[in-house]
Symmetry: C2
Subunit: 308 residues, 2 copies
Amino acid sequence: MSGLPSRVRIVEVGPRDGLQHEPEVLSVDARVAFIEALADAGLPVIEVGAFVRPDRVPQMAATDEVVRRLPSRPGVRYLALVPNRRGLERAFGTGLAGVVVFPAASEAFSQANLGASIDASLARFREVAAGAAAAGLWVRGVVSTAWWCPYSGPVEPDAVRRVAFALLEMGCEEVTLADTIGAATPVEVRALLERLLREIALHRLGVHLHDTRGTALANVLAALELGLASVDASAGGLGGCPFAPGALGNLATEDLLYMLHGMGIATGVDLEKVRSASLALERALGRRVPSRYAQAGPLRPAGASRSV
Amino acid sequence: MSGLPSRVRIVEVGPRDGLQHEPEVLSVDARVAFIEALADAGLPVIEVGAFVRPDRVPQMAATDEVVRRLPSRPGVRYLALVPNRRGLERAFGTGLAGVVVFPAASEAFSQANLGASIDASLARFREVAAGAAAAGLWVRGVVSTAWWCPYSGPVEPDAVRRVAFALLEMGCEEVTLADTIGAATPVEVRALLERLLREIALHRLGVHLHDTRGTALANVLAALELGLASVDASAGGLGGCPFAPGALGNLATEDLLYMLHGMGIATGVDLEKVRSASLALERALGRRVPSRYAQAGPLRPAGASRSV
Protein backbone atom coordinates (compact mmCIF):
# COMPACT_ATOMS: atom_id res chain seq x y z
CA MET A 1 0.00 0.00 0.00
CA SER A 2 2.78 2.32 -0.95
CA GLY A 3 0.51 4.85 -2.69
CA LEU A 4 -1.37 5.72 0.49
CA PRO A 5 -1.31 9.37 1.53
CA SER A 6 0.27 10.11 4.91
CA ARG A 7 -2.47 12.58 5.74
CA VAL A 8 -6.13 12.91 4.73
CA ARG A 9 -8.28 16.00 4.98
CA ILE A 10 -11.84 15.20 6.00
CA VAL A 11 -14.69 17.40 4.81
CA GLU A 12 -17.43 17.06 7.42
CA VAL A 13 -20.89 17.14 5.81
CA GLY A 14 -23.04 16.00 8.75
CA PRO A 15 -24.65 19.37 9.54
CA ARG A 16 -25.70 19.64 5.86
CA ASP A 17 -25.94 16.29 4.03
CA GLY A 18 -26.63 14.51 7.31
CA LEU A 19 -29.30 16.72 8.83
CA GLN A 20 -31.07 17.58 5.58
CA HIS A 21 -32.46 14.03 5.37
CA GLU A 22 -33.56 13.79 9.00
CA PRO A 23 -37.31 13.85 9.64
CA GLU A 24 -36.60 15.85 12.80
CA VAL A 25 -35.93 19.55 12.06
CA LEU A 26 -33.32 20.78 14.52
CA SER A 27 -33.33 24.26 16.04
CA VAL A 28 -30.65 26.78 15.15
CA ASP A 29 -29.28 26.32 18.67
CA ALA A 30 -28.96 22.56 18.22
CA ARG A 31 -27.33 22.94 14.81
CA VAL A 32 -24.83 25.50 16.11
CA ALA A 33 -23.95 23.29 19.08
CA PHE A 34 -23.41 20.30 16.75
CA ILE A 35 -21.17 22.29 14.40
CA GLU A 36 -19.21 23.77 17.31
CA ALA A 37 -18.57 20.28 18.69
CA LEU A 38 -17.33 19.12 15.29
CA ALA A 39 -15.04 22.13 14.88
CA ASP A 40 -13.74 21.51 18.39
CA ALA A 41 -12.88 17.93 17.34
CA GLY A 42 -10.49 19.36 14.77
CA LEU A 43 -12.49 18.96 11.56
CA PRO A 44 -10.94 21.49 9.18
CA VAL A 45 -13.77 21.94 6.65
CA ILE A 46 -17.44 21.73 7.60
CA GLU A 47 -20.51 22.02 5.39
CA VAL A 48 -22.84 23.81 7.78
CA GLY A 49 -25.97 24.29 5.70
CA ALA A 50 -27.55 25.11 2.36
CA PHE A 51 -29.13 28.27 0.98
CA VAL A 52 -32.06 26.41 -0.52
CA ARG A 53 -35.80 27.02 -0.22
CA PRO A 54 -36.87 26.57 3.41
CA ASP A 55 -40.34 25.40 2.34
CA ARG A 56 -38.70 22.53 0.44
CA VAL A 57 -35.88 21.73 2.89
CA PRO A 58 -36.94 23.01 6.32
CA GLN A 59 -33.97 21.25 7.91
CA MET A 60 -31.69 23.82 6.25
CA ALA A 61 -33.80 26.91 6.98
CA ALA A 62 -31.97 29.81 8.63
CA THR A 63 -28.57 28.67 7.43
CA ASP A 64 -27.53 32.34 7.40
CA GLU A 65 -28.35 32.60 11.10
CA VAL A 66 -26.45 29.38 11.82
CA VAL A 67 -23.34 30.72 10.07
CA ARG A 68 -23.57 34.09 11.83
CA ARG A 69 -23.70 32.37 15.20
CA LEU A 70 -20.50 30.39 14.58
CA PRO A 71 -17.42 32.02 16.06
CA SER A 72 -14.49 32.27 13.71
CA ARG A 73 -11.87 29.58 14.38
CA PRO A 74 -8.38 29.57 12.91
CA GLY A 75 -7.94 26.57 10.65
CA VAL A 76 -11.66 25.82 10.28
CA ARG A 77 -13.60 26.69 7.13
CA TYR A 78 -17.38 26.74 7.10
CA LEU A 79 -19.07 26.10 3.75
CA ALA A 80 -22.66 26.01 2.53
CA LEU A 81 -24.40 24.77 -0.59
CA VAL A 82 -25.52 27.55 -2.89
CA PRO A 83 -27.81 26.61 -5.80
CA ASN A 84 -28.22 30.03 -7.43
CA ARG A 85 -27.62 33.79 -7.32
CA ARG A 86 -30.37 34.39 -4.74
CA GLY A 87 -28.81 31.82 -2.42
CA LEU A 88 -25.44 33.50 -2.85
CA GLU A 89 -26.86 36.83 -1.72
CA ARG A 90 -28.08 35.19 1.49
CA ALA A 91 -24.57 33.85 2.03
CA PHE A 92 -22.83 37.23 1.77
CA GLY A 93 -21.90 38.85 5.05
CA THR A 94 -22.51 35.77 7.17
CA GLY A 95 -18.82 34.95 7.64
CA LEU A 96 -18.94 31.88 5.42
CA ALA A 97 -15.52 30.82 4.07
CA GLY A 98 -16.80 29.29 0.88
CA VAL A 99 -19.64 27.92 -1.18
CA VAL A 100 -20.40 24.54 -2.67
CA VAL A 101 -21.83 24.10 -6.15
CA PHE A 102 -23.25 20.70 -6.99
CA PRO A 103 -24.14 19.77 -10.56
CA ALA A 104 -25.00 16.17 -11.45
CA ALA A 105 -23.30 13.96 -14.00
CA SER A 106 -26.58 12.23 -14.84
CA GLU A 107 -29.14 14.12 -16.93
CA ALA A 108 -32.07 12.36 -15.27
CA PHE A 109 -30.81 13.16 -11.77
CA SER A 110 -30.09 16.77 -12.73
CA GLN A 111 -33.69 17.18 -13.86
CA ALA A 112 -35.08 15.50 -10.74
CA ASN A 113 -32.82 17.14 -8.17
CA LEU A 114 -32.14 20.57 -9.67
CA GLY A 115 -35.06 20.95 -12.04
CA ALA A 116 -32.69 21.74 -14.89
CA SER A 117 -30.55 20.05 -17.49
CA ILE A 118 -26.88 19.59 -16.72
CA ASP A 119 -25.95 22.49 -19.00
CA ALA A 120 -28.57 24.81 -17.52
CA SER A 121 -27.42 23.93 -13.99
CA LEU A 122 -23.80 24.57 -14.97
CA ALA A 123 -24.80 28.03 -16.20
CA ARG A 124 -26.42 28.77 -12.83
CA PHE A 125 -23.46 27.43 -10.89
CA ARG A 126 -21.07 29.42 -13.10
CA GLU A 127 -22.86 32.58 -11.96
CA VAL A 128 -22.63 31.46 -8.31
CA ALA A 129 -18.94 30.63 -8.63
CA ALA A 130 -18.12 33.96 -10.27
CA GLY A 131 -20.03 35.91 -7.64
CA ALA A 132 -18.45 33.96 -4.82
CA ALA A 133 -14.94 34.36 -6.18
CA ALA A 134 -15.51 38.10 -6.63
CA ALA A 135 -16.45 38.25 -2.94
CA GLY A 136 -13.29 36.36 -1.96
CA LEU A 137 -15.06 33.10 -1.14
CA TRP A 138 -13.62 29.65 -1.74
CA VAL A 139 -15.56 27.52 -4.25
CA ARG A 140 -15.87 23.76 -3.91
CA GLY A 141 -17.49 21.67 -6.64
CA VAL A 142 -19.27 18.37 -6.04
CA VAL A 143 -20.39 16.16 -8.92
CA SER A 144 -23.42 14.16 -7.82
CA THR A 145 -24.30 10.73 -9.27
CA ALA A 146 -20.71 10.32 -10.44
CA TRP A 147 -21.09 6.53 -10.66
CA TRP A 148 -24.76 5.55 -10.54
CA CYS A 149 -28.04 7.37 -11.07
CA PRO A 150 -31.20 6.08 -9.36
CA TYR A 151 -33.17 6.78 -12.55
CA SER A 152 -30.87 5.91 -15.43
CA GLY A 153 -28.36 3.45 -13.96
CA PRO A 154 -24.62 3.55 -14.58
CA VAL A 155 -23.05 6.92 -15.39
CA GLU A 156 -20.27 7.06 -17.97
CA PRO A 157 -16.85 8.35 -16.81
CA ASP A 158 -16.81 10.73 -19.76
CA ALA A 159 -20.02 12.38 -18.53
CA VAL A 160 -18.35 12.91 -15.15
CA ARG A 161 -15.21 14.23 -16.82
CA ARG A 162 -17.22 16.85 -18.70
CA VAL A 163 -18.88 18.18 -15.52
CA ALA A 164 -15.60 18.02 -13.57
CA PHE A 165 -13.88 20.15 -16.19
CA ALA A 166 -16.75 22.63 -16.21
CA LEU A 167 -16.30 22.99 -12.42
CA LEU A 168 -12.55 23.52 -12.71
CA GLU A 169 -13.09 26.06 -15.45
CA MET A 170 -15.59 28.05 -13.41
CA GLY A 171 -13.01 28.41 -10.65
CA CYS A 172 -13.45 25.46 -8.28
CA GLU A 173 -10.17 24.66 -6.60
CA GLU A 174 -11.33 21.11 -5.99
CA VAL A 175 -13.81 18.70 -7.49
CA THR A 176 -15.37 16.05 -5.32
CA LEU A 177 -17.01 13.00 -6.89
CA ALA A 178 -20.16 11.87 -5.12
CA ASP A 179 -21.62 8.36 -5.01
CA THR A 180 -24.95 9.97 -4.18
CA ILE A 181 -26.93 6.77 -3.77
CA GLY A 182 -24.18 4.54 -2.38
CA ALA A 183 -24.00 2.15 -5.30
CA ALA A 184 -20.37 2.18 -6.42
CA THR A 185 -17.86 -0.58 -5.77
CA PRO A 186 -14.05 -0.29 -5.54
CA VAL A 187 -13.33 -1.33 -9.12
CA GLU A 188 -15.69 1.40 -10.36
CA VAL A 189 -14.20 3.99 -8.00
CA ARG A 190 -10.75 3.16 -9.24
CA ALA A 191 -11.76 3.19 -12.91
CA LEU A 192 -13.29 6.68 -12.73
CA LEU A 193 -10.44 8.13 -10.69
CA GLU A 194 -7.81 6.67 -13.00
CA ARG A 195 -9.65 8.21 -15.93
CA LEU A 196 -9.74 11.67 -14.30
CA LEU A 197 -6.20 11.51 -12.92
CA ARG A 198 -4.89 11.39 -16.47
CA GLU A 199 -5.86 15.06 -16.75
CA ILE A 200 -6.56 16.41 -13.25
CA ALA A 201 -4.00 16.75 -10.45
CA LEU A 202 -4.41 14.51 -7.43
CA HIS A 203 -4.80 17.35 -4.94
CA ARG A 204 -7.76 18.75 -6.89
CA LEU A 205 -9.89 15.60 -6.51
CA GLY A 206 -11.89 14.28 -3.56
CA VAL A 207 -14.57 11.67 -2.90
CA HIS A 208 -17.98 11.76 -1.22
CA LEU A 209 -19.16 8.18 -0.71
CA HIS A 210 -22.44 7.01 0.72
CA ASP A 211 -22.63 3.80 2.70
CA THR A 212 -26.09 2.73 1.58
CA ARG A 213 -24.96 -0.78 0.69
CA GLY A 214 -21.96 -0.95 3.01
CA THR A 215 -19.26 -0.27 0.44
CA ALA A 216 -18.19 3.27 1.42
CA LEU A 217 -15.02 2.45 3.36
CA ALA A 218 -13.86 -0.08 0.78
CA ASN A 219 -14.40 2.61 -1.83
CA VAL A 220 -12.38 5.05 0.29
CA LEU A 221 -9.58 2.49 0.39
CA ALA A 222 -9.62 2.24 -3.41
CA ALA A 223 -9.32 6.05 -3.59
CA LEU A 224 -6.54 6.20 -0.97
CA GLU A 225 -4.55 3.61 -2.90
CA LEU A 226 -4.47 6.06 -5.80
CA GLY A 227 -3.20 8.75 -3.45
CA LEU A 228 -6.42 10.74 -2.97
CA ALA A 229 -6.35 12.68 0.26
CA SER A 230 -9.71 14.47 0.51
CA VAL A 231 -12.67 12.49 1.79
CA ASP A 232 -16.15 13.67 2.80
CA ALA A 233 -17.87 12.10 5.80
CA SER A 234 -20.85 12.72 8.06
CA ALA A 235 -20.64 12.53 11.85
CA GLY A 236 -22.61 9.55 13.13
CA GLY A 237 -23.27 8.44 9.56
CA LEU A 238 -26.23 10.80 9.44
CA GLY A 239 -27.89 11.18 6.08
CA GLY A 240 -30.63 8.64 5.87
CA CYS A 241 -32.12 6.02 8.10
CA PRO A 242 -30.31 2.74 7.57
CA PHE A 243 -33.48 0.87 8.43
CA ALA A 244 -35.61 2.29 5.65
CA PRO A 245 -35.65 1.01 2.10
CA GLY A 246 -33.69 3.42 -0.07
CA ALA A 247 -31.69 4.67 2.88
CA LEU A 248 -29.18 7.34 1.92
CA GLY A 249 -26.60 6.68 4.66
CA ASN A 250 -23.48 8.82 4.41
CA LEU A 251 -20.10 7.40 5.28
CA ALA A 252 -19.72 7.93 9.04
CA THR A 253 -16.88 10.23 10.07
CA GLU A 254 -16.11 7.99 13.04
CA ASP A 255 -15.80 4.84 10.91
CA LEU A 256 -13.54 6.71 8.47
CA LEU A 257 -11.36 8.10 11.27
CA TYR A 258 -11.05 4.70 12.92
CA MET A 259 -9.84 3.17 9.67
CA LEU A 260 -7.47 5.99 8.74
CA HIS A 261 -5.88 6.22 12.17
CA GLY A 262 -5.55 2.42 12.32
CA MET A 263 -3.70 2.62 8.99
CA GLY A 264 -1.30 5.23 10.33
CA ILE A 265 -2.85 8.06 8.26
CA ALA A 266 -3.07 11.38 10.10
CA THR A 267 -6.19 13.55 10.04
CA GLY A 268 -5.75 16.01 12.88
CA VAL A 269 -9.22 15.03 14.10
CA ASP A 270 -10.07 13.64 17.55
CA LEU A 271 -12.20 10.53 16.97
CA GLU A 272 -13.65 10.40 20.46
CA LYS A 273 -14.74 14.04 20.25
CA VAL A 274 -16.57 13.36 16.98
CA ARG A 275 -18.24 10.36 18.58
CA SER A 276 -19.32 12.49 21.53
CA ALA A 277 -20.82 15.04 19.14
CA SER A 278 -22.81 12.28 17.41
CA LEU A 279 -24.02 10.72 20.62
CA ALA A 280 -25.10 14.13 21.91
CA LEU A 281 -27.09 14.58 18.72
CA GLU A 282 -28.85 11.23 19.19
CA ARG A 283 -30.89 12.73 21.99
CA ALA A 284 -32.00 15.64 19.80
CA LEU A 285 -32.91 13.33 16.90
CA GLY A 286 -34.56 10.69 19.03
CA ARG A 287 -32.82 7.83 17.25
CA ARG A 288 -29.53 5.98 17.18
CA VAL A 289 -27.02 7.19 14.61
CA PRO A 290 -25.94 4.54 12.11
CA SER A 291 -22.15 4.84 12.56
CA ARG A 292 -20.86 1.45 13.61
CA TYR A 293 -17.96 2.97 15.50
CA ALA A 294 -20.24 5.41 17.29
CA GLN A 295 -22.25 2.46 18.60
CA ALA A 296 -19.36 0.10 19.34
CA GLY A 297 -16.94 2.62 20.80
CA PRO A 298 -13.24 2.44 21.37
CA LEU A 299 -11.64 -0.92 21.54
CA ARG A 300 -7.94 -0.54 21.61
CA PRO A 301 -6.79 -0.49 25.22
CA ALA A 302 -5.25 2.84 26.19
CA GLY A 303 -1.82 3.18 24.70
CA ALA A 304 -2.12 0.07 22.55
CA SER A 305 -0.71 0.46 19.10
CA ARG A 306 1.33 -1.49 16.69
CA SER A 307 3.78 -0.71 13.99
CA VAL A 308 2.95 -2.42 10.74
CA MET B 1 -6.50 -4.09 -9.15
CA SER B 2 -4.84 -6.77 -11.21
CA GLY B 3 -4.33 -9.14 -8.27
CA LEU B 4 -8.05 -9.60 -7.67
CA PRO B 5 -9.39 -13.14 -7.86
CA SER B 6 -12.00 -13.80 -10.54
CA ARG B 7 -14.06 -15.91 -8.14
CA VAL B 8 -14.51 -15.92 -4.37
CA ARG B 9 -15.89 -18.73 -2.26
CA ILE B 10 -18.06 -17.48 0.58
CA VAL B 11 -18.26 -19.44 3.83
CA GLU B 12 -21.64 -18.62 5.35
CA VAL B 13 -21.46 -18.44 9.13
CA GLY B 14 -24.85 -16.88 9.93
CA PRO B 15 -26.53 -19.99 11.36
CA ARG B 16 -23.57 -20.40 13.73
CA ASP B 17 -21.60 -17.18 14.40
CA GLY B 18 -24.68 -15.12 13.67
CA LEU B 19 -27.32 -16.91 15.71
CA GLN B 20 -25.08 -17.81 18.65
CA HIS B 21 -25.03 -14.16 19.76
CA GLU B 22 -28.76 -13.54 19.37
CA PRO B 23 -30.75 -13.16 22.59
CA GLU B 24 -33.60 -15.01 20.86
CA VAL B 25 -33.07 -18.79 20.80
CA LEU B 26 -34.50 -20.12 17.56
CA SER B 27 -36.28 -23.46 17.24
CA VAL B 28 -34.72 -26.31 15.30
CA ASP B 29 -37.40 -25.75 12.65
CA ALA B 30 -36.48 -22.09 12.24
CA ARG B 31 -32.76 -22.88 12.06
CA VAL B 32 -33.30 -25.58 9.45
CA ALA B 33 -35.48 -23.26 7.36
CA PHE B 34 -32.82 -20.54 7.52
CA ILE B 35 -30.02 -22.91 6.48
CA GLU B 36 -32.14 -24.38 3.69
CA ALA B 37 -32.80 -20.90 2.32
CA LEU B 38 -29.07 -20.11 2.39
CA ALA B 39 -28.18 -23.37 0.65
CA ASP B 40 -30.85 -22.66 -1.92
CA ALA B 41 -29.19 -19.28 -2.58
CA GLY B 42 -26.08 -21.13 -3.70
CA LEU B 43 -23.83 -20.73 -0.66
CA PRO B 44 -21.33 -23.58 -1.01
CA VAL B 45 -20.10 -23.91 2.60
CA ILE B 46 -22.31 -23.24 5.61
CA GLU B 47 -21.45 -23.36 9.29
CA VAL B 48 -24.70 -24.71 10.67
CA GLY B 49 -24.01 -25.00 14.38
CA ALA B 50 -21.62 -25.89 17.17
CA PHE B 51 -21.24 -28.95 19.38
CA VAL B 52 -20.77 -26.91 22.52
CA ARG B 53 -22.51 -27.10 25.90
CA PRO B 54 -26.20 -26.28 25.46
CA ASP B 55 -26.38 -24.82 28.99
CA ARG B 56 -23.72 -22.27 27.98
CA VAL B 57 -24.83 -21.62 24.39
CA PRO B 58 -28.52 -22.52 24.16
CA GLN B 59 -28.70 -20.97 20.68
CA MET B 60 -26.58 -23.89 19.41
CA ALA B 61 -28.38 -26.68 21.30
CA ALA B 62 -29.53 -29.64 19.19
CA THR B 63 -27.03 -28.93 16.44
CA ASP B 64 -27.00 -32.70 15.77
CA GLU B 65 -30.75 -32.61 15.13
CA VAL B 66 -30.38 -29.56 12.86
CA VAL B 67 -27.75 -31.35 10.77
CA ARG B 68 -29.80 -34.56 10.55
CA ARG B 69 -32.78 -32.61 9.27
CA LEU B 70 -30.80 -31.01 6.40
CA PRO B 71 -31.20 -32.87 3.11
CA SER B 72 -27.96 -33.59 1.32
CA ARG B 73 -27.33 -31.16 -1.55
CA PRO B 74 -24.66 -31.61 -4.21
CA GLY B 75 -22.09 -28.84 -3.95
CA VAL B 76 -23.07 -27.73 -0.43
CA ARG B 77 -20.98 -28.61 2.61
CA TYR B 78 -22.37 -28.25 6.12
CA LEU B 79 -19.84 -27.68 8.89
CA ALA B 80 -20.04 -27.29 12.66
CA LEU B 81 -17.68 -26.09 15.36
CA VAL B 82 -16.26 -28.89 17.48
CA PRO B 83 -14.34 -27.92 20.62
CA ASN B 84 -13.36 -31.40 21.87
CA ARG B 85 -13.63 -35.17 21.53
CA ARG B 86 -17.07 -35.29 23.14
CA GLY B 87 -18.36 -32.75 20.62
CA LEU B 88 -16.90 -34.81 17.79
CA GLU B 89 -18.83 -37.88 18.92
CA ARG B 90 -22.06 -35.90 18.72
CA ALA B 91 -21.11 -34.91 15.15
CA PHE B 92 -20.60 -38.46 13.91
CA GLY B 93 -23.44 -39.95 11.92
CA THR B 94 -25.27 -36.67 11.45
CA GLY B 95 -24.26 -36.21 7.82
CA LEU B 96 -21.94 -33.30 8.57
CA ALA B 97 -19.31 -32.72 5.85
CA GLY B 98 -16.68 -31.28 8.12
CA VAL B 99 -15.69 -29.78 11.42
CA VAL B 100 -14.23 -26.44 12.44
CA VAL B 101 -11.51 -26.10 15.06
CA PHE B 102 -10.91 -22.63 16.44
CA PRO B 103 -7.84 -21.88 18.55
CA ALA B 104 -6.96 -18.27 19.43
CA ALA B 105 -3.73 -16.44 18.66
CA SER B 106 -4.00 -14.44 21.88
CA GLU B 107 -3.21 -16.20 25.17
CA ALA B 108 -5.64 -14.01 27.12
CA PHE B 109 -8.48 -14.68 24.68
CA SER B 110 -7.73 -18.40 24.64
CA GLN B 111 -8.06 -18.51 28.42
CA ALA B 112 -11.27 -16.47 28.41
CA ASN B 113 -12.99 -18.16 25.46
CA LEU B 114 -11.73 -21.75 25.65
CA GLY B 115 -10.65 -21.98 29.29
CA ALA B 116 -7.24 -23.22 28.22
CA SER B 117 -3.85 -21.95 27.12
CA ILE B 118 -3.16 -21.84 23.38
CA ASP B 119 -1.03 -24.98 23.63
CA ALA B 120 -3.62 -26.88 25.64
CA SER B 121 -6.34 -25.89 23.17
CA LEU B 122 -4.16 -26.99 20.25
CA ALA B 123 -3.76 -30.40 21.90
CA ARG B 124 -7.57 -30.72 22.17
CA PHE B 125 -8.11 -29.57 18.60
CA ARG B 126 -5.41 -31.97 17.38
CA GLU B 127 -7.46 -34.81 18.83
CA VAL B 128 -10.61 -33.48 17.14
CA ALA B 129 -8.84 -33.08 13.80
CA ALA B 130 -7.38 -36.57 13.92
CA GLY B 131 -10.71 -38.13 14.82
CA ALA B 132 -12.54 -36.16 12.14
CA ALA B 133 -10.00 -37.03 9.45
CA ALA B 134 -10.19 -40.69 10.41
CA ALA B 135 -13.97 -40.49 9.89
CA GLY B 136 -13.49 -38.89 6.48
CA LEU B 137 -14.57 -35.40 7.56
CA TRP B 138 -13.12 -32.17 6.20
CA VAL B 139 -11.30 -30.04 8.81
CA ARG B 140 -11.34 -26.25 8.70
CA GLY B 141 -9.19 -24.20 11.07
CA VAL B 142 -10.06 -20.69 12.24
CA VAL B 143 -7.58 -18.58 14.21
CA SER B 144 -9.50 -16.20 16.44
CA THR B 145 -8.12 -12.81 17.55
CA ALA B 146 -5.67 -12.87 14.65
CA TRP B 147 -5.20 -9.07 14.82
CA TRP B 148 -6.57 -7.69 18.07
CA CYS B 149 -7.49 -9.18 21.44
CA PRO B 150 -10.09 -7.44 23.61
CA TYR B 151 -7.96 -8.15 26.69
CA SER B 152 -4.36 -7.75 25.60
CA GLY B 153 -4.51 -5.47 22.53
CA PRO B 154 -2.58 -6.02 19.32
CA VAL B 155 -1.60 -9.59 18.44
CA GLU B 156 1.78 -10.23 16.87
CA PRO B 157 1.84 -11.78 13.37
CA ASP B 158 4.33 -14.36 14.63
CA ALA B 159 1.83 -15.55 17.24
CA VAL B 160 -0.73 -16.02 14.46
CA ARG B 161 1.83 -17.78 12.30
CA ARG B 162 2.54 -20.31 15.06
CA VAL B 163 -1.14 -21.21 15.47
CA ALA B 164 -1.72 -21.27 11.70
CA PHE B 165 1.12 -23.76 11.26
CA ALA B 166 -0.20 -25.91 14.10
CA LEU B 167 -3.55 -26.05 12.28
CA LEU B 168 -1.96 -27.00 8.95
CA GLU B 169 0.11 -29.67 10.68
CA MET B 170 -2.93 -31.20 12.35
CA GLY B 171 -4.55 -31.66 8.94
CA CYS B 172 -6.56 -28.50 8.24
CA GLU B 173 -6.83 -27.95 4.51
CA GLU B 174 -7.45 -24.26 5.09
CA VAL B 175 -6.72 -21.71 7.78
CA THR B 176 -9.03 -18.76 8.21
CA LEU B 177 -7.87 -15.67 10.08
CA ALA B 178 -10.53 -14.07 12.25
CA ASP B 179 -10.80 -10.44 13.29
CA THR B 180 -12.97 -11.61 16.17
CA ILE B 181 -13.72 -8.19 17.60
CA GLY B 182 -13.76 -6.19 14.36
CA ALA B 183 -10.75 -4.03 15.13
CA ALA B 184 -8.36 -4.53 12.22
CA THR B 185 -7.74 -2.02 9.45
CA PRO B 186 -6.57 -2.71 5.87
CA VAL B 187 -2.89 -2.02 6.51
CA GLU B 188 -2.92 -4.56 9.34
CA VAL B 189 -4.82 -7.12 7.26
CA ARG B 190 -2.31 -6.75 4.50
CA ALA B 191 0.70 -6.95 6.82
CA LEU B 192 -0.42 -10.22 8.42
CA LEU B 193 -1.40 -11.81 5.13
CA GLU B 194 1.87 -10.82 3.47
CA ARG B 195 3.74 -12.37 6.41
CA LEU B 196 1.83 -15.66 6.10
CA LEU B 197 1.88 -15.79 2.30
CA ARG B 198 5.65 -16.07 2.43
CA GLU B 199 5.15 -19.62 3.69
CA ILE B 200 1.52 -20.63 3.11
CA ALA B 201 -0.14 -21.06 -0.29
CA LEU B 202 -2.84 -18.57 -1.22
CA HIS B 203 -5.59 -21.17 -1.59
CA ARG B 204 -5.04 -22.37 1.98
CA LEU B 205 -5.84 -19.00 3.58
CA GLY B 206 -9.16 -17.26 4.21
CA VAL B 207 -10.49 -14.33 6.23
CA HIS B 208 -13.32 -13.93 8.74
CA LEU B 209 -13.83 -10.23 9.38
CA HIS B 210 -16.24 -8.60 11.77
CA ASP B 211 -17.80 -5.25 10.95
CA THR B 212 -17.93 -3.89 14.49
CA ARG B 213 -16.31 -0.60 13.53
CA GLY B 214 -17.33 -0.58 9.87
CA THR B 215 -14.01 -1.74 8.40
CA ALA B 216 -14.91 -5.29 7.31
CA LEU B 217 -15.43 -4.67 3.58
CA ALA B 218 -12.34 -2.47 3.32
CA ASN B 219 -10.43 -5.29 5.00
CA VAL B 220 -11.90 -7.76 2.52
CA LEU B 221 -10.67 -5.53 -0.30
CA ALA B 222 -7.16 -5.55 1.17
CA ALA B 223 -7.29 -9.37 1.23
CA LEU B 224 -8.69 -9.62 -2.31
CA GLU B 225 -5.89 -7.41 -3.60
CA LEU B 226 -3.45 -10.06 -2.39
CA GLY B 227 -5.45 -12.69 -4.26
CA LEU B 228 -7.30 -14.28 -1.33
CA ALA B 229 -10.46 -15.99 -2.49
CA SER B 230 -12.12 -17.39 0.65
CA VAL B 231 -14.19 -15.01 2.76
CA ASP B 232 -16.55 -15.73 5.66
CA ALA B 233 -19.78 -13.77 5.99
CA SER B 234 -23.04 -13.91 7.92
CA ALA B 235 -26.44 -13.47 6.28
CA GLY B 236 -28.02 -10.21 7.37
CA GLY B 237 -24.85 -9.29 9.28
CA LEU B 238 -26.11 -11.32 12.22
CA GLY B 239 -23.66 -11.77 15.04
CA GLY B 240 -24.26 -8.97 17.45
CA CYS B 241 -26.61 -6.08 17.75
CA PRO B 242 -25.12 -3.03 16.01
CA PHE B 243 -26.93 -0.80 18.45
CA ALA B 244 -25.33 -2.14 21.57
CA PRO B 245 -21.94 -1.09 22.88
CA GLY B 246 -19.42 -3.84 22.17
CA ALA B 247 -21.50 -5.10 19.25
CA LEU B 248 -19.93 -8.08 17.53
CA GLY B 249 -21.40 -7.52 14.05
CA ASN B 250 -20.24 -10.00 11.45
CA LEU B 251 -19.63 -8.89 7.91
CA ALA B 252 -23.01 -9.19 6.17
CA THR B 253 -23.15 -11.73 3.33
CA GLU B 254 -25.37 -9.36 1.32
CA ASP B 255 -22.94 -6.43 1.61
CA LEU B 256 -20.05 -8.70 0.59
CA LEU B 257 -21.98 -10.11 -2.38
CA TYR B 258 -23.01 -6.65 -3.53
CA MET B 259 -19.39 -5.48 -3.55
CA LEU B 260 -17.96 -8.63 -5.16
CA HIS B 261 -20.56 -8.76 -7.92
CA GLY B 262 -20.16 -5.03 -8.55
CA MET B 263 -16.43 -5.66 -8.97
CA GLY B 264 -17.07 -8.42 -11.49
CA ILE B 265 -16.03 -11.19 -9.09
CA ALA B 266 -18.16 -14.33 -9.34
CA THR B 267 -19.50 -16.16 -6.28
CA GLY B 268 -22.23 -18.45 -7.59
CA VAL B 269 -24.53 -17.01 -4.92
CA ASP B 270 -27.88 -15.30 -5.55
CA LEU B 271 -27.79 -12.02 -3.59
CA GLU B 272 -31.55 -11.49 -3.59
CA LYS B 273 -32.15 -15.01 -2.25
CA VAL B 274 -29.74 -14.36 0.63
CA ARG B 275 -31.52 -11.09 1.35
CA SER B 276 -34.87 -12.87 1.37
CA ALA B 277 -33.49 -15.42 3.85
CA SER B 278 -32.34 -12.59 6.14
CA LEU B 279 -35.59 -10.68 5.93
CA ALA B 280 -37.55 -13.86 6.67
CA LEU B 281 -35.39 -14.32 9.76
CA GLU B 282 -36.13 -10.79 10.97
CA ARG B 283 -39.63 -11.86 11.89
CA ALA B 284 -38.34 -14.78 13.96
CA LEU B 285 -35.75 -12.60 15.72
CA GLY B 286 -38.04 -9.64 16.23
CA ARG B 287 -35.45 -7.11 15.11
CA ARG B 288 -33.96 -5.63 11.96
CA VAL B 289 -30.79 -7.28 10.71
CA PRO B 290 -27.78 -4.95 10.47
CA SER B 291 -26.82 -5.62 6.84
CA ARG B 292 -26.95 -2.32 4.98
CA TYR B 293 -27.77 -4.00 1.71
CA ALA B 294 -30.53 -6.05 3.32
CA GLN B 295 -32.17 -2.82 4.46
CA ALA B 296 -31.54 -0.73 1.34
CA GLY B 297 -32.26 -3.38 -1.25
CA PRO B 298 -31.37 -3.55 -4.91
CA LEU B 299 -30.57 -0.36 -6.67
CA ARG B 300 -29.32 -1.13 -10.09
CA PRO B 301 -32.25 -1.02 -12.50
CA ALA B 302 -32.99 -4.40 -14.05
CA GLY B 303 -30.38 -5.22 -16.63
CA ALA B 304 -28.15 -2.27 -15.77
CA SER B 305 -24.49 -3.10 -15.72
CA ARG B 306 -21.27 -1.57 -16.82
CA SER B 307 -17.95 -2.82 -17.98
CA VAL B 308 -15.06 -1.22 -16.13
